[in-house]
């Protein structure tokens, strides 16, 4: 647990440095616009504190000077920082960064949770099928699908699905799926409408998971099926169905659960590309938008938020692993 503090410190300081090195400047001088003067750029940079040295900007972002001032170690007025839970304000619109995150987090969770669920629900039966019919045509087809799932870039798959299910179906006069966004304009909260928007992005996102997890499911099942206790079960005259689904599956799933647990941070960060292609109003797209817009504080806010979740996700995976597999339990 204590290791999380240096981890977070490392993540934020390195990210801050990287952004500072690469991003250039938020201030409108980046537009070649004849009506913007150098003095405007200088003045706005000063107002935003961007004319301060890098290390001081980072300390301010952390909020250390403000804490020091509260302890009467130094004077002056300093901004609140991340150490006091203040994510700061966006350099672009002046609004609190945490508001943006809170506003978009549910959208991202909706998308990634659905995708992971689809992945899990399909990967296990597919993996079992592949293992039971090892070497059959179905097994080969599933293997091919897995390879494709890993190899095909998600933005490509996304566009193909849009072309088929949005554009072509509509062109043929059939009911079609919406190609972009999380809901229709001017429609209030309508579960069916939201679901129809969710289908394509969730499928695309789940395809990658499905490919990997079904492979793991298959090999794990194969391994389990060759174990002694399975042979014992068969020798006792148990039905094959009972052997596979009651005895083998339970043990075959354990490594899969670990794997899925490790994907928990992807709940927040995993969908950026899909979010962009489908215009999904989630966190990943926001991060990318703001990175291109040189909005330091917004990007830092998201990076920190994601880092915290990654740390928590790993912790959760460790705990899950210990619960499910008694062999790794600490003594």
């Amino acid at each position: 647990m204590l290791a999380t503090i240096p981890t977070l410190f490392g993540v934020t300081s390195i990210s801050y440095f990287l952004i500072w090195v690469t991003a250039g400047d938020i201030v409108p001088g980046v537009e070649i616009n004849p009506y913007i003067k150098q003095e405007d750029i200088d003045r706005i940079r000063h107002n935003l504190g961007l004319d301060q040295p890098f290390w001081l900007q980072y300390l301010n972002w952390l909020g250390l000077p403000n804490l020091a001032q509260q302890l009467h170690l130094i004077g002056g007025t300093w901004p609140k920082g991340i150490l006091e839970g203040d994510f700061g304000r966006s350099l672009v619109d002046g609004s609190p960064v945490i508001d943006h995150i809170v506003e978009r987090l549910p959208n991202t969770l909706e998308l990634t949770t659905t995708a992971i669920l689809i992945g899990v629900l399909l990967a296990i039966p597919l993996g079992v099928t592949g293992a039971l019919r090892r070497g059959s045509k179905i097994d080969h087809a599933l293997t091919a699908m897995s390879v494709a799932g890993v190899a095909v870039p998600s933005f490509w798959l996304a566009l193909i699905l849009v072309l088929v299910f949005s554009v072509q179906l509509r062109a043929w006069g059939l009911p079609a799926l919406p190609s972009s966004g999380a809901y229709s304009p001017l429609v209030g909260f309508d579960p069916l409408d939201r679901l129809s928007h969710l289908v394509l992005p969730a499928l695309v996102l789940s395809f990658g998971y499905l490919a990997i997890w079904s492979r793991f499911g298959r090999s794990s099942m194969l391994e389990v099926l060759s174990q002694d206790y399975v042979r014992t079960a068969r020798a006792k005259g148990m039905s094959e169905r009972r052997v596979v689904y009651i005895h083998a599956l339970r043990n075959a799933v354990i490594p899969l659960v670990t794997l899925i647990g490790l994907e928990l941070p992807a709940l927040v960060s995993g969908g950026a590309v899909v979010e962009i292609v489908f215009g999904w109003p989630g966190i990943g797209r926001f991060a990318l938008d703001r990175a291109f817009g040189h909005d330091y504080t917004a990007v830092m806010g998201i990076v920190t938020f994601a880092a915290i979740l990654v740390v928590l996700g790993n912790l959760l995976a460790d705990i899950l692993y210990a619960i499910l597999d008694p062999r790794v339990r600490y003594t």
Binding site: T22, A23, G24, V27, P28, G29, V30, E31, I32, N33, P34, Y35, I36, K37, Q38, E39, D40, I41, R43, I44, N47, L48, R89, V92, D93, G94, S95, H100, E103, R104, N107, W156, L159, I160, V162, L163, S166, V167, R170, P178, S179, S180, G181, A182, Y183, P185, L186, I276, V277, F278, G279, W280, P281, G282, R285, F286, D289, F292, G293, H294
Partner: protein, 581 residues
């Protein structure tokens, strides 16, 4: 500009999938093949029409809504703080400036009653406001609101406001004061002809409600809740919601002072790429793709044209793409370019008609002058025109002392004609342009090497600050006024100015100063003709093309006016949809 450049890299892959046409293929496989495309091209070139109106069936339908695409999200609803085009366009839906600009680039009164009265010395603009304009909370819009809005941008008490317009406005504006409830007097520091069109008639200067923002301290304007939820407005539409990254919803202002709009609702659907925007235009999810916001890419023009539910219009915008020579005698590259015959020769060596065809998919006009063709100051007969003439280019270089034997790189007094060209990485059109330039100049014995650099970190500082370059390529966007001092005046060769090539011509300086120092339209036009002539002769920074904007409209959208100048505030209330949905 930078923002769209950034988005381009990602879109390449997508277009590659959707439209495997010869052109798209070329565009996507990148720079190596671009020159081949260019060799294969070189066909006829179509001139785009300058503007018009989406045809009206005559019977106006009330009600319904329009969905417009916006690839980028809005940044800020406060007109005083914004610089990006997307925000400006959305702001002009909900708040009006004193004027906007009509299809001819002239003032079109909005909050103002009619054209400003200009004093005989040209320094004082008296603007009468319409009486009885109400903010949507019932308060009256008066001269106090107008004065307050301008104070935020020029008054020293408000320097903590992060307005990017302060430097420009306070250079010209002496004071803005309310003479009475309905009269505002603007005093300028000098006679400055573009003042009304740039500072009174732009979406950057929409009026803000003093009774909402007037009590805030200057620094608090930057973080006011108004910036993300502007509930008190005076324009054709009222703000309903801004779901960040997803959509902006507006509803009609039934009490709009110029008459209630026909549409009930207006939605900006945020996100996607130019490919997904076109897809959604096909499916009817999106009605409008407006240039600069929901852009249809030039490479998609033909594909968009072929869809029978949408109309596609292509028209010139007020921008150009150009490359600039290093002319500062302190920099080594100026040895190559200081002779204007050399600069002219390098322009003669370029087949820009073929460039417009192969790299802009014909959605650009070859530049015959530095003035965008849509401007009233454009001289279509400007001379010389620099038609592609390789033999002439080579002869001119020979005459200038740059000689070559057997196709090798030209030399003069031991110096080799060799330099580096920079542009921003990620902008495919510009990257390809440099490759074409490299090839065409190689044909006349000039060795130019393309180099792609980061826009913010390297290119902009090279242009406005360090001036460390041999040649740079970039685009420039102008306002509706033909003043081009920002690029050509020697005053702007100072640090921070855009005259990065350090071009200094006292004759031209005088022409530029005279042209903004008189309000006489005909005299200005003559002076800008002179400017175009001087620049065509000197070629400090040759203009390659004027790229077009492409507008996609669902056929159900009526009365939408489009063109180089016209701003949507002028016609928004008249727009309707044929099915009333």
């Amino acid at each position: 500009m930078s923002q769209h450049d950034d988005a381009i890299g990602f879109e390449q892959f997508e277009r590659f999938v959707e439209e495997w046409s010869r052109r798209d293929f070329l565009r996507n496989v990148g720079i190596g093949t671009a020159y081949l495309a260019f060799l294969a091209g070189g066909l006829e070139f179509l001139e785009a029409c300058a503007g018009g109106t989406s045809t009206s069936s005559g019977n106006v339908k009330e009600g319904g809504h329009i969905v417009e695409a916006s690839i980028a999200d809005l940044k800020n609803w406060n007109s005083v703080l914004t610089t990006d085009y997307t925000s400006q366009q959305m702001i002009s839906m909900i708040n009006d400036a004193l004027y906007c600009v009509d299809s001819n680039g002239n003032l079109f009164p909005l909050v103002a009653k009619d054209k400003p009265q200009v004093s005989s010395d040209g320094l004082t603009y008296t603007v009468s406001l319409r009486q009885g304009i109400k903010w949507n909370d019932g308060q009256e819009l008066t001269a106090d609101d107008v004065v307050f809005t301008y104070q935020l941008m020029y008054d020293p008490t408000y320097t903590a406001v992060n307005s990017p317009r302060r430097g420009d406005l306070s250079q010209y504006l002496e004071s803005a004061t309310a003479k009475d409830k309905y009269t505002v007097i603007f005093k300028t520091k000098t006679v400055y002809a573009p003042f009304a069109v740039i500072h009174l008639a732009s979406n950057n200067y929409t009026i803000l409600p003093k009774h909402v923002l007037g009590n805030l301290a200057a620094a608090d304007i930057n973080t006011a809740s108004y910036n993300s939820a502007p509930t008190v407005t005076c324009g054709a539409f009222n703000f309903v919601s801004w779901e960040k990254g997803s959509q902006v919803t507006l509803k009609k202002n039934p009490n709009y002072y110029r008459g209630a709009p026909h549409l009930d609702n207006y939605v900006f659907k945020i996100g996607g790429t130019s490919t997904t925007v076109l897809n959604q235009m096909k499916t009817g999810e999106i009605d409008i793709a407006f240039p600069g916001i929901g852009a249809i890419d030039p490479s998609q023009f033909d594909a968009a044209k072929s869809v029978d539910t949408i109309n596609v219009y292509s028209y010139p915008r007020l921008s150009f793409d150009f490359f600039a020579f290093q002319l500062d005698p302190a920099k080594p590259a100026s040895q190559l370019f200081s002779d204007k015959n050399v600069r002219q020769a390098l322009v003669y060596a370029l087949d820009r008609t073929a460039i417009a065809h192969a790299l802009y998919f014909d959605q650009a006009t070859v530049a015959g002058t530095s003035m965008p063709p849509a401007s009233w100051a454009y001289n279509k007969d400007n001379q010389p025109q620099y038609k592609f003439d390789k033999a002439k280019a080579m002869a001119m270089l020979d005459a200038a002392g740059w000689t070559s034997s057997g196709g090798s790189t030209r030399t003069k007094n031991g110096a080799t004609f060799k330099f580096t060209m920079i542009t921003n990485a990620g902008n495919k059109v510009r990257e390809n342009l440099l490759v074409v330039l490299q090839q065409q100049w190689k044909d006349i014995g000039v060795d130019a090497t393309p180099s792609y650099v980061d826009f913010n970190k390297v290119l902009v500082p090279a242009i406005t600050d360090t001036r460390n370059f041999d040649m740079f390529m970039v685009g420039f966007i102008w306002g509706p006024d033909p003043d081009q001092s920002a690029l050509w005046h020697s005053r702007n060769a100072r640090k921070g100015g855009f005259n990065g090539m350090q071009y200094k011509n006292p004759d031209l300086d005088k022409v530029l100063d005279d042209a903004v120092g008189t309000l006489d339209h005909n005299k200005r036009k003559q002076l800008y003709f002179q400017m175009q002539q001087i620049l065509a002769e000197d070629q400090p920074a040759p203009i390659l093309t004027f790229p077009n904007g492409i507008l996609g409209l669902n056929k159900r959208v009526q009365n939408w006016q489009y063109g180089t100048f016209i701003q949507r505030g002028a016609y928004l209330k008249d727009v309707f949809v044929t099915d009333g949905k």
